[in-house]
Symmetry: C2
Subunit: 331 residues, 2 copies
């Protein structure tokens, strides 16, 4: 079996988890790692991961690595936003390297930046590589699974997804990210500053709408605080009754005013019955549930690594998760 040769680009929490997982796989060979952080540059990737040395030294410069190593793909985990990752993506594509990225906006870049999507697709076809944005959400729980569930239908007129995450069982940064423990006033002040929000919600709605031919004409989202009804104590913090337990983020896609796609995400400390539910309103109707819900950051790292084979096998261009062979555990 030919191993997939990979450079890890971006060594934040997701990038580190993805690199750790990739290092454990026989079918994948990490041949380089890139991060601009001076604390990381020059260090051995294995050491950084708290493991034994692996002989891969973190470099600040992707271009030299790409030229020297000619990897099959990069595992790209630097930023959620297209404006920040754009140059990094083109650099890889122009070097003839497939891209798999955790950038949430790259799930469906035509949604926010149609010109960029066209240019990225054109360039990827020119150099014969595939570019894919994915993760657990967006990329799997509230979009890919709905697309896959539609396969058994003759007809389909709507999609409803519900994802409930008990943030209390997750790491501190997630609990902070959803505002757990804040007062309502603190939450509102931070919300006005743009400090909250699951990124990628509108991209998920757009991807579901586009892939399933639902011809949405408006896509909107709302975000509100979920308040604690009783005290919740996590490993890291305590949420008093009446304080913010987390967020509820709803994405809606409509056609002629009619609600067609509704994605309903709750991430809050103490959420009851964490789960992922996909409901297809169609013929036949389909209701798919994952008990307990899919874990977040860890699953994103898994999905990135488990999508590598699909990205390498797929034809060239900017692709969505619906357009490449499905992710499955890498070995």
């Amino acid at each position: 079996m030919k191993r997939i040769r990979v450079v890890s680009v971006g060594l934040g929490p997701i990038g580190m988890a993805a690199a750790r997982l990739a290092l454990s796989k026989h079918s994948i060979e990490i041949v380089g790692a890139v991060d601009p952080d001076p604390q990381k540059v020059g260090q051995d990737l294995g050491t950084l991961l708290g493991q034994k040395e692996c002989g891969i030294v973190v470099s600040p410069d992707a271009s030299i690595l790409y030229a020297e190593q000619k990897p099959d793909a990069i595992l790209h985990c630097t930023s959620s936003f297209l404006t920040r990752v754009k140059d990094q993506l083109f650099q890889a594509v122009e070097s003839g390297i497939n891209v798999i990225s955790s950038s949430e906006e790259l799930l469906m870049p035509s949604h926010s930046q149609p010109d960029l999507a066209i240019e990225l697709d054109r360039k990827a076809k020119e150099t014969g590589v595939t570019v894919l944005g994915t993760g657990v959400n967006p990329g799997y729980a509230m979009d890919f699974l709905a697309i896959v569930a539609s396969a058994v239908c003759f007809d389909l007129h709507g999609v409803r997804c519900t994802r409930v995450v008990d943030a209390g069982t997750r790491r501190l940064p997630l609990q902070q990210k959803v505002g757990a423990g804040l007062t309502v006033e603190e939450f509102k002040a931070r919300q006005e500053g743009g400090g909250f929000g699951h990124i990628g919600m509108t991209e998920s709605v757009a991807l579901v709408g586009d892939t399933l031919g639902l011809k949405l004409d408006t896509i909107e989202q709302s975000l509100e605080a979920v308040l604690a009804e009783k005290e919740h104590v996590t490993e890291f913090l305590t949420v008093a009754p009446g304080r913010v337990a987390g967020i509820r983020n709803i994405g809606e896609g409509r056609r002629d005013g009619e609600l067609i796609v509704r994605l309903d995400l709750t991430m809050a400390v103490g959420s009851d019955n964490p789960r992922d539910v996909v409901e297809i309103l169609g013929e036949p109707p389909v209701r798919m549930q994952i008990d307990g819900g899919i874990p977040g950051d860890q699953a994103t790292a898994a999905i990135l690594v488990n999508s590598l084979h699909g990205v390498v096998e797929a034809g060239p261009g900017l692709k969505s998760v619906a357009e490449v062979p499905p992710p499955r555990i890498a070995r």
Copy 2:
């Protein structure tokens, strides 16, 4: 949008359902239909389907149609068995036409006929077409969904799928196929003659094992009668207590004697709690359930039609459902 030009090959119940569905889709154009049955040859496909004429006359001869119409793909629904469909598959592939087939053994032809699989793959690559066997089971419920569920895992050591179909809500041929109403003696006599059995169970085990890198060394299946505990009355027949209500078919894949993959299928009149459940034994564990279960024959027709885009887009060769873009509703 370029429409996918399709020839329907085989107009039994599944082929008819697939043709009816394909005719309703804007993205698909049926350009021919083939069946050897003298009762069908010369008839308009629309008339045969109980609809208005569609201008497609059923032909007994695929070769002329292939040469004249040069379709993008065939919807192939003639037989479960490779020995019977082999020549039909090569005929299409040699004509440069993509194949999507309901043949259960084609889900994983290397399982029963490795030489044929190699030859089919070689020829498909030579002529630049894709060959895919799929359906609801095998092809989706007890294999594809397990593969897709594995995507969120770091590690995985086993797969369990349970599919329970209430045959009492299905059409008469299915109730008969599972032996509903027979005595135990009648069931055993027919079983010895090879008259029962879901086809494709061992193929599903093999596909899951191979795709998820589980290195199975033995694959076996068992089939037994499910007996009615109380009377069941369906639209078509009555099953007295103690008589056969249906079948239970279990496929098991082992490595060094250890049970790794277990697919447990019950199709019986009066089955409680019909459902599809996929359980991934891994890190993290995953449990995915479809309430009520996925309907059978109708869903197979849907999945065939809904896989057309993936087969047309995929690179050439003999592919499995894990190697092409996932099925999703066609429009």
